[in-house]
Structure formats: structure tokens, C-alpha cells
Amino acid sequence: MLGFLKQPVVVTAEINMNLVALTVMGLVNRLWALSYPRAVVFDEVYYGQFVSLYMKRIFFVDDSGPPFGHMLLAFGGYLGGFDGNFLWNRIGAEYSMNVPVWSLRLLPALTGALCVPLAYQILVELHFSHCAAFGAALLILFENSLITQSRLMLLESVLIFFILLAILSYLKFYNLQKCSPFTAGWWFWLLLTGVACSCAVGVKYMGLFTYMLLLAIAGGHSWHLIGDQTLSNVSVLCHLLARGLALVVVPVAMYLSFFYVHLTVLYRSGPHDQIMTSAFQASLEGGLARITQGQPLEVAYGSQITLRNVLGKPVPCWLHSHKNTYPIRYENGRGSSHQQQVTCYPFKDVNNWWIVKDPGMQQLVVSNPPRPVRHGHIVQLVHGITTRYLNTHDVAAPLSPHSQEISCYIDYNISMPAQNLWRVEIVNRESDTDVWKTILSEVRFVHVNTSAVLKLSGASLPEWGYRQLEIIGEKLSKGHHQSMLWNVEEHRYGKSQEQKEREVELHSPTQADISKNLSFMARFTELQWKILTLKNEDTEHKYSSSPLDWITMDTNIAYWFHPISGAQIHLIGNILTWASANVATLVYVCLFLWYLLRRRRKICDIPEDAWRLWVSAGGLCVGGWAVNYLPFFMMEKTLFLYHYLPALTFQILLIPVVLQHLTDHLCRSQLPKNMFSALMVAWFSSIYLVYRTFSPLTYGEPTLSAAELRSLRWKDSWDILIRKH
């Protein structure tokens, strides 16, 4: 019974000291004096505000990417006990005592440090020698730009970490495929690939490029699997299904879960509420929900409402009118109707209130029981404060002469009759007898006489219109556009017959009761859509650059500058590594083409195994570089040098690949091999030297004198801050 005691319990551990050494070196070099400088550095000012909002559970929208990255940073703040009270307004501002700088920066630094052993592992899994793998890791270790980027509260190093992790786990999985499919290890690495991919995409959309690359590689491998006629049809199908599950289904589910956590954590209303639809806003605590709670759901004749434009561009606004009239003549000489202006106004105001009136009746109150307005009904809209009717006629709109002017009708007795009947069309209706609902219904107002549609043109009126937005009647309504859709935001049943009382009623706040909840999927779709379509005004940044500048590193970014001592941190790479990486890429592409053409003529310069290795390693490294770099040429957003870092990482991995290939296959005799090794040692030493030389700009200390700084300006285009005295 106690047989198992007969054998001693033995634990044999095999520790790759290379790996341990690299990890330790990585940690030292990334974590050293991490909380220096105790000041906001560059984009920390941007990510920091989101961390604060997470701490306070306030909802926000960030168009730069999905929420997982922000969440990771916020997690660091949470562990450090950050309360979110810091004003992120200026680069270089000193952190107050309550900001746990070290723990905020810890996660990016850790991931950055782990990239070093990952690079080692990847090359080993690609069947390269440990020597080459060690070289790759050292190159990553001494890359100044990667160090700078990972020592601060920024997301690139996290992204690179997940990208490398995904690559590594796919390689592990692929190597297991040959000997032991469907074992625990096989499943583990396959699933880890999917998870790492979704994490990479979740941190920044740039991760998509690597994800696509991996999918393509996996697709190629699966294609070989299909061609393998030793496998039965069923097992091929199982293989394909397993890959589909791990590489498609799991990442999608993970991605959704990021948003689920994001939306669950952030339940309070905040500064970006206005971007979202009324329904979304009502689902947040505070803000609009406080106002709209308890308002009646169905719009009835006599309802007092505010109408919000669904598009929300250029700014969210409400249908508005005021006492002022359109000028008789515009600047360009065209005439107007001189009736009361109707605009779209981006602020809450008592003049945003309108009353829905039945054209057949005089009363402006809701009858008992209320008569709801349905799809297709014809209504008049009465402006609450001025009691004028919303009207349109065949007069050109002030800024869009091809469309009709919208006004509040004033009878000047000049044979211009009132045309104030509007047909309500609920666009997102379920049946043709749907009732017009507060917040939920998106409605088009079609003018009965001219079939023009009430629309926000997006232009803002000149001085006479107080720079409010222009509202027009679109005659040729081409299809559906959100600028023609309106939804009721605030709503109450009007009770006062008299104008004076009604004004008091309009000024009073609406009462509160129940809230309307949206499903997670509806909220996810809306948020995702807003993230993808929200465009910030394109502002050129002082340090923005074009992709062409990146390969040769013609540009740098000054991240931080100490106002007194003059210490500074720059994003500036190890120029020698960058140059070598470019040379390696060039050599690889030329050799590849050479081999390819020769093989087509059945001339094999290298053995079949070496060729396969050459293709797979190069496909991964050059492919990774290309997919992470080339798409930027087609992007119109503001670009920075740090966008190049993922591509650079792949390019660096290529250097040892090319070097080993050269030693193995091109240096045939012993003498050149020895010379080559000597050259390698010299080259590595110079890379280390360059790293040392630029490390004051990477770590921000020690402070350099003006002369020393000037000597570091190796390229004229580098922007190194030298103070004039």
C-alpha cells in the first residue's frame, strides 16, 4: 500500500541558464530606477487620464483603440492603490504623492523585459542555434527605443509582448503537431496563440496585422494538412475545427469579454456621454439617466419633447429655435423668408423644447387617456417658448442653397402660406403601426407638401445665427443618413393650457423614475462603432513623422525634459541595430529571390532542409516586419516613430537568422568562419557601445552638458533639446 514510498521522490529540473540570465538582464535593464522621473512623460498624459477614469468608474470613449490596454494600465494603478485624483493636463508636470508611479509603470516594464527571453525562445523554436538565439535576445536587450518605450506608462511594449507570445506559442504548437497532436501541450499552445492574439488586438488595433499574419501562416499549414493523404478525412476535419476554435472563436470571445469588463467597470456617466446615443447615455448612472428616468415612454399628442440629432456630427445637438429671424439678405445677396430661425444647438436650453400637436385640434395638452403618435401620423411641431410652428417652404437654405430653408412660421401676409405638416416616419420600427417611443425610436420628419426631410447639414451659421448649426429640408433624400434621423431625448406630457404656465413648465426639470436598460450586445455594438468611426481633428504634432523617416530613423521624439537640470528622455533607437536590421532585410530578400529563381531551374544551392528553414524563418520575420510597417503608408492619421517598434522587433529577429545562414552556407572553409566570428564580436561590442552612449537619453540620467548633447546629435534631423545660455 505504501509502495510509492519505496521510490524516493526526485525532482529533476532542467534550467536553461541562458534564459534565466537573459530574463534577469532584461528585468534589470528595464526596471532600473523605474519611478524616475517622477513627472508625466509624453503620452502618459494621455493614458493617465483613462487610468484615472477607471479608478473613478467613469465612462469614456477612446478612439485610439480597444479597452484592454487601458485596463491593464489601470490594473497597475489599482494594485498601487491609486485613487484617480491627478490632473493629467501637461507633459512634465510633477506627480503628486498619491500617484503610485512605480506600479503604474511596472506592467509595461515587465512585459518589455519578458520580450528578451521570448525572442530567445522564438529563434530556438525556429530551429536556430542557441548562439543565434542569444544574439537575437541581446539585440532586443540593448535596443534603446524599446527600453524607453517600456519604462513608461505606454502600451507599445505590452503590444510587442503579446505579439511575440502569440508567435512563440504558435511555433511551439506547430513543432508539437508533427509528433503529438491533440495532447495537453498541443492544446495549451494552440489556445495560448489565440488568447495572445486577442490580447494583442485588445491592446491596440495594430495587433490585427500580426493576427492576420498568423492566420495566414496557420492557413498555409492547414492546407498542407489537407494534402496529407495519410490522415483520414475525419481527423483532418478535427484538426481544422480545433484551429478554427482556437484561432477564431476564442479570440472573438476574448475580445467581447474585454468590452464586457470595460462596460461593467465603467458604470458612471462622464465626459464622453455626449458622443453616445440617448439610449446608451440612459444606461449610465448619473447624467442623462437622472433626467430621463420616469419620463413617459410613448410620445402622444401634446407631448413636450427635445429632439436630438442621431448622427451627432460635428457635435451632438438638439433642434432649436429662438426669437431671431433669418436676415432678409445674406452676404452673397440671396434672399431669405425673414422668418424665425431654426437651428441645431449643442447645449441644453429651454429653447430646445417642442410640442407635438395634432393638426386637427387646437389643444396643446395631452388628453386623458393620451393618444400616442404612430408611424405615418401627421403632426405639427410647435416651438415651446415662441409657440411658432416648424415650417419649410421653397426658399433656399442659408448655407446649402440646394435644400429648403426650415423656419418657424411668421405670417407676413405676403401670400406665403404656412406649410407646417410633417409626417412622422419611424425608421427602426418593427411594424407599420409602431408607436413613437422616447429615446428608442429614430424618426424622420417628412414634410407633407414638398416631401423634404428635416436634416442637419453640418455647416455652422455665421454671426447672425450665433454660430449654431444649420438645419435644412433635404429635397432629394438619397437613402438614409443619420443626419436625417432624430430621437426624442427629454419628454413629458404637457399639462398647461396657458402659455405663461407652459413656460414655467418648460423651465422645470423632468421628474424621475425607472431606467431603461440596453443589452450588452447593443451597448458593445454602439461603443465599437463609435471607436472605429470617431475621428479626432487631425492635428499635426511637433514630433509626428512619416513612415519613410522610420526605417533610417531620421526622426526622434523628445519625451521629457527637466526644466532646471536639462535632463531629458528621448525615443531614439540604437542606430547601429537599426542599420544592421535594414541590411539583413535587404540581404534576405536578395538571397531569397536568387534561391527561388535557381530552384525553379532545378539548381539547389542549399539543402532542402536549410531552404525550408530559410523560408519559414524569413516568412515570419520579414512578413512580420512588412505587415506591421507597410500598412502605415495608407493611413491618414498622425503617425509617430513608436508605431514602427513592432515592425522593428521583427526586423531585429531577422539579423541572427541571416547571420547564421551566412556562416553555415556561404563560409565554407575554416578561415573565413573565424574571421566572421571575430567580426561578430566586434559588431556586438559596438552595439553595446552605442547603447551605452545613448543611455543618458534613454533613462533620463545622468544629465548631460550642452557639448555632450551636441555630440550625440549624430543626424541633423534629430531634435535634441539644447538650452541656450
Partner: protein
Amino acid sequence: MDLYRENVFSVLFIPFLMIPNIRWDETHFGKMGSYYINRTFFFDVHPPLGKMLIGLAGYLSGYNGTFPFQKPGDRYGHHNYIGMRGFCAFLGSCLVPFAYLIVLELSKSLSAALLAASILIFDTGCITLSQYILLDPILMFFLMGAVLSMVKYNSCAVRPFSAPWWFWLSLTGVNLAGAIGVKFVGLFVVLLVGLNTVYDLWELLGDLSLSLVTLGKHLLARVFCLILLPLVLYTAQFAVHFAVLNKSGPGDGFFSSAFQSRLIGNNLHNVSVPEHLAYGSVITMKNLRMAGGYLHSHWHLYPEGVGARQQQVTAYLHKDLNNLWVIKKHDSNTDHLDPSCSVEFVRHGDVIRLEHKETSRNLHSHQHEAPMTRKHFQVTGYGINGTGDANDFWRIEVVGRKSGKRIKVLRSQIRLTHLATGCILGSSGKTLPKWGWEQVEVTCTPYVKETPNALWNVEDHINPKLPNISLDVLKPSFPEILLESHMVMIRGNSGLKPKENEVTSKPWHWPINYQGLRFSGVNETDYRVYLLGNPVVWWLNLVTIGLYLLMATCTIVAIKRGAQLTVEFKELSEVLLHSGGKIMLGWLLHYLPFFMMGRVLYFHHYFPAMLFSSMLTGITWDTLLKFCAGCLSCSMGKRVYTYGMLALMLLIVYSFYLFHPLSYGMVGPMASDPNSPMAGLRWLESWEF
């Protein structure tokens, strides 16, 4: 076949002759045709071949180029427009035999070819588009011509370097040149032919029976016919274009001063102006970058929040009175044109003040951010009647000249340095938003770089006190004007951005025939033509693409898994994968790139892709039916095949009968009205006929 062709021409030709007023874009291209006849220089974002051909057709048919082409719906009256329309319609109707021949060549199946051809005959969209003076029929003609000759030379591959091989190969090159010469969209077909050629060469390379010399010959033949020949022809078009258009016209301002001096009637042609700048001269300054504008100002101020609220200074591409500036001394406000004053020349290194003639404000800069390029300083108009402050002073310098020398009109490359801040006046090339009337931003850049952005030349020069001297201005060489006109075209193309809140056509609308394009007529009484594909045909095409992908995947997987196919099926799968693959690639190349384009897109951009999609339909259904027939017994199979083809044809013909009023014009109430002849045919709410 002959019967078919006759049919085509009658379907396309007869009705359009009866419509005597302009439709839609005819205003553009008809007008440009007239410009060629009148030899007036104009600017367009497309290369010139298409318009040149329209002009030629008009010229040959006796049109005299006098019709103004002002707005859609204008009557042609007595003007002879038939030639131009007939030309376009002829090219448009050639598409049908082309499609027929391509499919026949690819699939070797008569019924597949007939199906593809009948789709194009009975598609209302293709008919509508070929009836009017537009570039699209010309583009599609060359495009299909290129594909046809490519397919033909591929099938000549067994006898390389024979006469037909050379003929088709060089014809491919000619057609490629034609396609890019009409619109830049032609680049996609170049890409298609290029990929096909690379594949071709790759196959040849793998053929070890061929010697390296033969391979070299193959390569050279293709380089010559598919690269050099099109390039030469393309350049030749521009040579003709510039040679024909030698009179000044509406397009002058888009080009540099040197370019304009070529044009008869332009104020720079054989110009005679005072040679040296003097104080008191009235001048215009042109930026030296490609497609740079004139230094311009107007009464409007920069809006709130954009630097200081002072008068805007921009670069403007058109000639305008607001481009005029007066050179004054920085320290005095005397009128130098006063006859009592002696003439004083401006010299290199002088400090001057530039006063805007219309508004009397000085060119001014200060340390506020420029509106778009935030690193630069804002440039404004400042001061009243020439009295401003020290920020109005600029040092004028000529590139590569010593101080004290005079400054020459047109030839001197001038740099204006702001005295107070040391920055240099330049144009960033970015378009200002609406408040700046979409003119180009002018900034003062603190980074001293030797780029054409920061250099200017003096173009007009008015000074009554100086003698006019005829200047033999630097005549630009042909490569220079070729390069310049391309830069201007590219800038023009990228400037066609949709406005905010404007409803635009999206690429995903197109294959589902979501929305048409109104060619003419809005009201019930008008004669209305509406560009919309025959929905039955288009939806058939759409379904076919899915069907094709499914069939191709199944076949390819079956082959990869080592399934044993009969000879018959092997041939079918060959047609499906190779021929179908080529056509599918063509469709992808002509469709997907539009998703990445930032410019305004229209429904008619899909038509080249639609041609490929129709041919694919022919091939796919033919293969599918043959496959079904092959599975069944002999007689039964034959019957299935025949009836299947017949059913498809009848479906297409009947749907054409239903929808033909779209292209031949409709009168009467709108389709939403139950009394309309088109009632019940408005299957999608987004159609507006």
C-alpha cells in the same frame, strides 16, 4: 454571332438619338470635348485620352465646339451632338462581343459565352452608361480590349513569337495604354495583366526544356510590349494633348508660371513686362511647389480659436484680383507711382513690406500657431492702409544671388524671411477647412529648409513707370510638363473628398444594386433616366460570386485530397479554377481597392468590376450545369443542361423587358405612385425612379 451583334447595336442605338438634352456628367466631358475642338487649355483629374477621343468624334461628325454645356437638362438645339454620343455608344456596344469572345476563349463553351454576352446586352445599367458622352464606355472598351488580347495571346502560347502571338501581345500593350489614358482606374487592369504575365513567366521558367536565351527573349518581348510600348503611347497622348491645347483657358492657374507661358493668350505667353522689381510695383507671387497657388488674401478673418483673429492669407489656385500685392519700403508709405518719384529697384537682401492691394493690409506673421501645420507660425493680413507694426517686415532674398542685385520677374526664385522671428514664408499644401474656403494654407516656417514650398516667383508685374521688355521665359521641357501635369492631377484627385454629412455612395452598396444614380429628370413630368443595374442580372451576379467560391473551394480541396476525377471533370475543373480564377481576380482588382479610397465615390465606378462579374456568371453556371449533366445519364443530362441555360436566358430577357424604361427613359408619375408604369418594380426602398 452576327445576329447577336445586330441585336446589340439596335438595342443600344435607336433610342438615345431621340433625347436631345444633356444628361448628368455630359456637362463635364462634353465641355472638355469642346475644349479640344477650340484648343483651349483646361484642367481635369483624368488623363486626356478619353476626352481627346470625344473631341475627335465631335470634330469628325461636324460639331463645332460652341455648345456651352452649362447644366444638365439643357437642350442641344441645332448642335450636332450625335457623333459624340454615337461614338461612346459604339464603344459601349463593343463590350458585348468582347465579353463573348473572352468567355469563349477561356471556357471553350458557346453557351457560357452567350450567357455572358446576353447579361451585358440586357443590363439596363450598361446600356444607360454607354448612351451618353461619358468616359466610362471608353474606359471599359479599352479594359475589355486588354483582357481579350491578353486571353488571346495566352492561348497563342503554344506557338510563341509567331505573328498572331506578337499581334495580340502588342495589342494588349496598346489597350493598356488606352485604359490608363482614359482614367487612372485603368491601373487595375494593368495590375491584372501584370500578375498574369508574372505567372506566365514563372511557368516558362519552370520549363527546363527552354534555354536561358529563349527565356530572355520571352522576358524582353513582354517588357517591350507590356511596359515600354504602353509607356510610349501614354506619353504620346500627353504630347498630343499639350500640342492641341495651346490656348489659354480655365485650367491655367493650376500650373506653374513656366507652364503657363506656353499657352497662347495667357498673360505670360510671349510676355512683356518690366524686367526688374521696383518699389510700388503691383505683383502676384506664385509658390514654386507643384500645383502651388498664388499668395492670396481676402476680407475674411481667421475664425475664433485659430491663432489671432486677423485677416486670412492663403494660397489660391485661380487667378483673382485678390492675388495682387504692392511692394513697399518697410519704413515709408510714400506712393512710388507718383510721377515725381524716381524709380527705385528692389534689391536682394532689402527689407520690404507687402501690402495687399484690395484690402490695404500688410503681409504679417507672428508667434501664433498656423491653422493646420501647428509647428509653423500663422500668416495674416494686418494693419490699416499700410500702417502696421514691425511684424510686417520681410527680407527679400533670391536663391543663389549676391546681395545688392536686382530681382527679376519670373526667373528669380524668391525667399521671404520674416524679420522679427526669422521664419520663412511658405505654403504647406494643406487645404484649409470651410472657413478658409478650402484654399491652401500659407504659413511661416521656422525650419530653414531649401524646399520649393518656401520659394516663390513673381508672375504678374505691373509698373507703368518701367519699360516693358519681352522676356523669353524658360520654356519647360516636355518631361517637366508631363511630370507637373501628373502632380496636379494627383492633387486634384485626392482633393475630391466627400463633404461632411453628405450622403455618398459606399462600395458595399454597389454589387447589391442598392442605389442608382439619377441621370436626368426629377419631377413627374420630366423625361427621366436612372442609372441602375438590371436587378435580376445583378443579384444573379452576386449569387454567382458566392457560388463560384463554393465550387472552387470544393474542387480544389477534392483535388488536394487526391480524389480521382474523370477526364471530363478534370477539364471542367481546369476551366473553373484557371479561367474562372483569372476573371475572379479581375473582379477583385477592380472592386476591392475602392474600399480604401478616400475620394468621393459613385455608383458607376463599379461597372468595370461588373463586367468581370458577368463573365464569371457565364463561366460558373455553364460549368455547374455541365457538372450536373455529367452526373446524370446522357440524355437526361443534356436536357438538364439545355433547359437550365434556356431558363437563365429567359429570366434575363424578361427582367430586361420589365426594367427597360430605366435606361430608355420614363415619363409619368414616380414609381411610388400605383398609377406609374413602373409601379411594383421598386423592389428596394432606396431606388428612386
